[in-house]
Symmetry: C2
Subunit: 75 residues, 2 copies
């Protein structure tokens, strides 16, 4: 697994969040409302700038009606 | 998904880490060596006391020769 770089999981999460939002046709603002996180913070996650915590990954998974495994799945 | 409580993902991660360590027959000390994290911190994650970050989940997944999706998979 040496092709991983330090932020590979951030890239995977960001991509899966964008895909899932598109599937649900919802905005970052809607996810912010559902999670209680700010839209700016969510935007930072989707731009791989944030080292998000597990508790917040759980909030995001619930808001996106998916699972942690799906959010970290390499599609 | 209302049967989730605030730390469900911590429970899932902790369980999968313990299972994976047992499968590999390695100690928390060995995972500490592989990740650069402390054994005490890893112990805290496995006792659901730590809100671990995504970058550290990646280090743990690599050390346990598994994936993020597997670590958050509900077995």
């Amino acid at each position: 697994m040496d092709q991983f770089h330090a932020h590979t999981f951030r890239k995977i999460l960001a991509r899966n969040m964008r895909i899932r939002r598109a599937e649900l046709d919802i905005t970052q603002e809607e996810v912010a409302l559902r999670t209680g996180l700010t839209q700016a913070y969510l935007s930072g996650i989707e731009r791989e700038k944030r080292n998000v915590t597990l508790d917040n990954i759980q909030k995001i998974a619930l808001a996106l009606e998916t699972t942690g495994a799906e959010l970290l799945n390499i599609r």
